[in-house]
Symmetry: C2
Subunit: 332 residues, 2 copies
């Protein structure tokens, strides 16, 4: 019988069914991408196709990472944060920050295939921009996310992430923080610290347990192979990550993504860093993490109309499949 | 400059940008579908490919509408509603109802092209099943929705709707009802009655204003051409719809869908009826409605990570485009 599982963070139910097996999500073999593409705006030589760099990591051979304003920014860098309100029309001016992080000069690398060292630099760059963007007094909340492949909502195949600074705090974020607080108030524990200890204890959904991070398929995973990577040290803000932890996260993230990449034939995916602001580092109840959603299933009118997700793959079976995927030896 | 608009129902912000024009969403010409397809499980002659009928509308020529249990039900019809709870694992057994409404025997008709009379019968069938399913004491909430086309999450092209009876009340639904209640408490008005009067007064986003319903693009539309159809008579439950209103809704829905169909080249879409339960008909603050989401834009990591939608088309411009679409004369 299907089972409704409660997501303790969103407090929404997920319908978990056994209607699919892991193999059903193995994608068709994708066309091999070249290492360099003349028409790609993110490939070396095409730097003029993007706005001027905000930040660059470079060596004698050229740039390794570029951060540029998003040419198609959804919010405007310039302007004041103003509010208007008339009847049921309530608006805030769309000011904020929207940057693109070009993760590598090589066109065909992705999170699973980028070596650990440059992936570490990508995460360091996230942190640097995260800290910088929060200095803007108009900014209330910063989101770091990655879209990879057409099903994830991007048309650019060259590996990149985005960082958006918003002039409001999204309700989704406030609701999650309230749940963390409620759990802390109820139990005296951090919800995510408790989740880590229960997951490690049970083991059935664990993928990688490294020095500082643990990756696993959550009990109430909202879609097949949905994965969380949680820092084992309690901290409310990504801003607080140490150099040693950055290195460990790069290793854990790369190996986790490799399970998806080699096991499912390079699925399109999104990931997002869910974090409190800089000052939330000391919060007793907020615990930042990284959430990965491979885009292997469709959302239908049912999810739109109810908010309840249908996961056609049992999380424990998805996790077991991923643990068995053969990945090259140089991974952890 | 982009603008953040507040959705008063979800209390979430939508980023509205002018990055696209209506023409950008006109789809590629689709292959013409046949009126009958031998391999389609919903076409006449293939009745044995679905479970036995729960309800049928028929005449001397055969069935016009069939309601059958969903062969791939996400919840199980049989069994008790039981709960288990261990640490952070909280479950409810997946019992409930999941039915399919095959709207027409003709393979290539859709909501926009189905004549008003059979569309009226479809809505009557929704109502009949809605009332019946709520009789099951295990059922807490019923959702009626339609997926049309692959981008909407269905692989079956024959026009059909689905109705799901859940053994829990989704948090999304509870949150909306709380917002309705809060608004009523704040202002003494029903949020949706107030929305109707403001929309009709301004006119910029209105599509069709018929005797009993008004269709429009909401001020904080979460995606291009997102449309609401609201009953003008205040009522908390779809169960409460009168025969005259069913007829008017069929006319309004068909004409609204025709604007999308002829204007955008048959876009894939979802629609959902958002309603309180039967007993909510008399609620002073709940107001049922129908919400249509054409699947013309992708959701990215930003929406997943923030809950904030990006609508790249200004709602007023989308509405104006739809009003200008030429639809055949026999529509209202």
């Amino acid at each position: 019988m299907p089972e409704l599982r409660l997501n303790f963070v969103t407090r929404e139910w997920v319908i978990v069914t056994a209607s699919k097996r892991p193999d059903d999500f193995i994608g068709v073999k994708k066309k091999k991408k070249p290492g360099f593409l003349k028409t790609c705006p993110f490939c070396p030589g095409n730097e003029s196709k993007t706005p001027d760099e905000i930040y660059t990591v470079r060596d004698e051979k050229g740039w390794r990472i570029r951060v540029v304003p998003n040419k198609f920014a959804v919010i405007s860098e310039e302007g004041e944060r103003t509010r208007t309100h008339s009847g049921l029309k309530k608006c805030v001016s769309g000011v904020g920050v929207h940057e693109v992080i070009i993760e590598t000069p090589i066109h065909n690398l992705t999170t699973a295939t980028l070596p650990v060292e440059p992936l570490k630099e990508v995460i360091q760059t996230y942190r640097y921009r995260f800290l910088e963007i929060y200095k803007d007094p108009r900014i209330e909340h910063v989101i770091i996310f990655k879209n990879n492949g057409p099903a994830s909502g991007t048309s650019i195949e060259h590996s990149h992430s985005q960082i958006v600074g918003l002039s409001i705090i999204p309700l989704q974020i406030r609701n999650r923080f309230e749940e963390y607080m409620r759990f802390f108030d109820d139990t005296g524990d951090c919800l995510m610290c408790k989740t880590i200890s229960e997951e490690l204890n049970e083991g059935a959904r664990i993928l990688f347990n490294t020095d500082h991070f643990v990756s696993f398929v959550p009990f109430a995973a909202l879609s097949p192979f949905h994965i969380w990577i949680l820092p084992k040290r309690h901290s409310g803000s990504f801003a607080d990550i140490t150099s040693e932890e950055v290195w460990d996260l790069a290793k854990n993230l790369k190996s986790t993504m490799a399970r998806l990449y080699y096991g499912l034939g390079h699925p399109d995916f999104n990931y997002v860093i869910r974090s409190g602001k800089i000052g939330d580092a000391d919060s007793e109840f907020i615990h930042w993490y990284l959430s990965i959603v491979p885009r292997v299933a469709m959302v239908s009118g049912f999810e739109l109309g109810s908010g309840v997700y249908i996961n056609p793959l049992i999380p424990e079976i998805g996790a077991e499949f991923l643990r068995r995927v053969k990945i090259p030896e140089y991974y952890i």
